[in-house]
């Protein structure tokens, strides 16, 4: 027979104002199985908890119900107190008579009746609660970082500096991401390469970091503390161990006119290439699609000129399995490819603003490459069409962003600031030129940001026009931009030499596919979702996986770096323990009844259900039944509601407990 203790909290007056707590206590005391019932002003306070512990000992209580606020508020508090008094914490439940009762009902009678019902329901449930053991799982103290932009680099360096090994996987031939493409950065205008490349070199030289570039994630298995990740290292056709990075192959390759993605396709590269001179690693890659040798079987010049004999045309993709305990996802962003609609994209507006048709209509990242001292023009801002310096330049903000009707309702966050930066860079380089900016409004929250934006107008003479562009067309060698200035209510027409579109920041192509491999959630745009928008902004809901940078939403560099360091700190916290403790709310299979249909296995999103062979003493296979790995099970209970033979049960939410609650009503 159970001896349940019921403790009713007044919550100051928050509960007692509408609920007659004495009546609830009397009601509880009369329930079968209840040995003790009392009320107190603040159950969560120190004296309240002492009262609880004392009652458990003196009254020899077997179970506890605390009728107070939401369990989301204080369940932990009371379970800890119960544990301190020598009871298993899972024998304690909370009855929510504040958020779900006293705060939402004014009528004292009705609220009191409801509170009695809630308490009664929880008393019946608690009777069926079982002692649950704490579950611990071991932790592999190595971490995987996916994506080698500034976010991935910062996270990898922080974790590695704390003494833990890191595996960094980057899809492109070099790490660096978008920051490596930038010219100078707001709000300080320091050169991006100068602050980025030393960090890239640190990654390459760090004894604790294993770097896989030109590689992708093939498969992710396991769970927090115990992931197995298969990495596909694509064939580079150059052996990384023997290549000295001399680059002689690149000077001799006959294929010289391949548009370079790193330079936004305005610069050219060879078939054997590094994307940019400061690439890490500086081992070239052969782009097999454009290589003469791979296309026709002839050539092979690079192999002949390579001193150490590093060029290897026969190289194959390799699969490497890495065991890690935590994963940081830092796959960054891509720009809205306005001229070309990616397959299956739900977004509208492709093909607008002449991008892709008029050569001198470019996007913001292309402007960065033009302005970059190490870019294809050596930092000269010239027109891609004829190499002339543009004397009138028009920047248009919010291309794609904040256009709900076209499919993107969010603000890309960095465009206002980088457009202001672009007008400055332009003014510094083309002294007699004039920059115009069409904008909806300027969003500049951030340290020194508004000052920076104002400077572009007040000191660098950019003309800001509030309004959108309605029409844009080529006329001779000019681009006519027509729009309205809604501040003064007039139509404006500008004959520009060049137009720069601040296109929306979107997640990387295929971000959803990677999320599915990782088992993390993403929003309708494919940005990855954090566990809690405010309180857990760097963790995924899936335990052991963390987010850093623009893959979670548009971000500038300072924010990206902060989030990356925060994610690294979370990883280090995880690695500070030998074993992880987790809530024992997991499913268990009653093997005797299991018919081995594996309906549970099909519905389990975590792959927690395994097939277990049952053999006799001679080792003959008798049956195959389901078995839940308690380390992997997330405790959703979907398997239980699915099992046709009712042989899998979720601890803490058993049928018995739930039916007891329904029957109490």
């Amino acid at each position: 027979m159970s001896r349940i203790g019921v403790f009713i909290c007044h919550c100051g007056e928050n509960i007692s104002r509408t609920v007659d707590v004495e009546r609830v206590a009397a009601h509880a005391a009369a329930l079968p199985g209840v040995a003790y019932a009392t009320e107190y002003k603040y159950m969560c306070s120190d004296p309240g908890q002492t009262l609880l512990k004392k009652a458990i000992r003196e009254q020899r209580l077997t179970h506890v119900v605390v009728a107070a606020c939401s369990p989301r508020m204080h369940e932990r508090t009371f379970r800890k107190a119960v544990e301190a008094a020598g009871l298993n914490p899972y024998l304690c439940e909370m009855a929510n008579i504040r958020e779900h009762c006293s705060w939402v009902h004014e009528d004292r009678e009705q609220a009191t009746v409801k509170a009695c019902d809630i308490v009664g329901m929880m008393v019946e449930r608690t009777k069926k609660n079982r002692v649950l053991p704490t579950i611990t799982v071991p932790v592999t103290k190595r971490s995987l970082v996916i994506g080698g932009g500034i976010a991935g680099i910062q996270a990898a360096l922080d974790i590695a500096d704390s003494g833990h090994e890191v595996v960094l996987v980057e899809r492109e031939p070099s790490i660096g991401g978008h920051m490596a493409q930038l010219s100078e950065t707001f709000p300080t205008l320091d050169c991006s390469q100068c602050i980025m490349t030393p960090k890239m070199v640190d990654v390459a030289n760090h004894p604790k970091i294993t770097l896989y570039t030109y590689s992708e994630i093939e498969l992710v298995e396991g769970y927090i503390g115990n992931f197995q990740v298969t990495v596909r290292k694509r064939a580079r056709s150059v052996d990384e161990r023997t290549c000295t990075g001399c680059g002689v192959c690149m000077t001799k390759c006959p294929q010289k006119k391949i548009p370079n993605k790193f330079d936004q396709y305005i610069g050219m590269r060879t078939a054997i290439y590094v994307p940019f001179p400061q690439a890490v690693p500086n081992t070239p890659v052969i782009d097999r699609e454009n290589c003469t040798r791979f296309k026709t079987g002839k050539c092979g010049v690079c192999q002949k000129v390579c001193g150490p004999g590093a060029v290897d045309f026969e190289q194959q993709d390799t699969l490497i399995v890495e065991a890690v305990g935590a994963i940081v996802v830092a796959t960054g962003f891509d720009l809205y490819s306005i001229s070309e609609k990616p397959k299956g994209s739900p977004i509208k507006g492709y093909g607008e603003f002449g991008h892709g048709k008029i050569p001198d209509v470019i996007d913001g990242m292309t402007f960065e490459r033009l302005a970059s001292a190490s870019g294809p023009t050596g930092g000269k801002i010239v027109r891609p069409s004829d190499g002339r310096e543009p004397k009138q330049i028009v920047f248009i903000q919010c291309i794609g962003s904040r256009a709900r009707e076209k499919g993107i309702s969010y603000c890309s966050k960095v465009c206002c600031m980088y457009t202001a930066k672009h007008t400055m860079l332009y003014h510094h380089k083309v002294h007699d030129g004039q920059a115009y900016v069409f904008f909806m409004d300027a969003r500049t929250p951030g340290k020194s940001y508004d000052e920076f934006w104002r400077r572009s107008i007040e000191e660098e003479e950019a003309v800001y026009i509030r309004g959108m562009v309605s029409r844009l067309y080529q006329k001779g060698d000019k681009i006519v931009v027509m729009g309205s200035d809604i501040a003064v209510g007039v139509q404006v027409e500008i004959e520009a030499d060049m137009v720069v579109l601040a296109t929306a920041v979107q997640p990387q192509q295929g971000a959803d596919l990677l999320a599915q491999k990782l088992g993390i959630s993403y929003d309708k745009y494919n940005f990855y979702s954090e566990a809690h928008a405010k309180l857990r902004p760097v963790e995924c809901a899936t335990a052991g996986i963390f987010l850093a940078g623009a893959c979670q939403g548009p971000k500038d560099i300072p924010e990206t770096v902060s989030q990356a360091s925060a994610a690294a700190a979370k990883v280090m916290t995880l690695f500070s323990k030998e074993r992880l403790e987790r809530e024992p709310i997991v499913a268990r299979v009653r093997e005797v009844g299991c018919v081995g249909c594996f309906a549970c296995k099909k519905v389990c999103a975590y792959g927690a259900v395994e097939e277990k062979e049952i053999r006799d003493r001679q080792g003959n296979l008798l049956r195959v039944v389901a078995s839940v790995n308690p380390g992997v099970c997330a405790g959703c209970g979907t398997c239980q509601a699915t099992c046709p033979s009712k042989c899998v049960e979720l601890d803490g939410y058993t049928d018995e407990q739930i039916v007891a609650m329904i029957e109490a009503l």
Binding site: A605, A641, I662
Partner: protein
């Protein structure tokens, strides 16, 4: 048919809500912290996920005298457990058909998505369902069935009673 229906003016319906911890329970908490007001008829049962909710619980609730049942969880795509709510949705789609076939008025069983941020929506959903079943009057089908069975004497053996209670 149902004489009780005529006295529906002081009839207080019993509404049982099955909700998931992560979205709807939290949404109901938010309604509380925002001091919104709604009818006190609803009793909330918390589950980790709508995926855990066995249709049998809904039958059980009606059998226990519920006049309306609400099942609510995270919006599609937002499930804390990746896809539990999708499984639940599929399961309940089939279950509704079954209920319809059996003759239960589907108006009494409501499914909804209420997120942790939607305290207002929780209030709306609960108020609407309560008022709807109040207008419909008490749900008598199960009660009558129970009465009939008792009257026929078919349920007197302890084993049968026990089996009946297990449903």
């Amino acid at each position: 048919m149902h004489p009780e229906k005529t006295i529906s003016s002081d009839f207080e319906p019993k509404v049982i809500a099955f909700v998931c911890t992560w979205c709807t329970y939290a949404g109901a908490d938010l309604a509380g912290t925002s001091r919104m007001q709604y009818p006190s008829n609803v009793r909330v049962l918390k589950f980790p996920c709508t995926g855990r909710i066995d249709p049998v619980f809904i039958l059980k609730a009606f059998q226990q005298g519920a006049d309306g049942v609400l099942v609510s969880g995270c919006h599609p795509g937002d499930c804390h457990y990746i896809a539990g709510n999708f499984h639940a949705r599929r399961r309940f789609a089939a279950f509704r058909k079954l209920l319809e076939f059996v003759g239960v008025d589907l108006q009494r069983l409501q499914f909804s998505w209420v997120s942790a941020a939607e305290g207002g929506k929780w209030v709306e959903v609960v108020t609407e369902l309560t008022e709807k079943v109040r207008a419909m009057g008490p749900m008598m089908e199960f009660k009558e069935l129970a009465l009939e069975e008792q009257w026929s004497g078919a349920m007197i053996s302890p084993e049968l009673q026990d089996a009946y209670r297990q449903i």
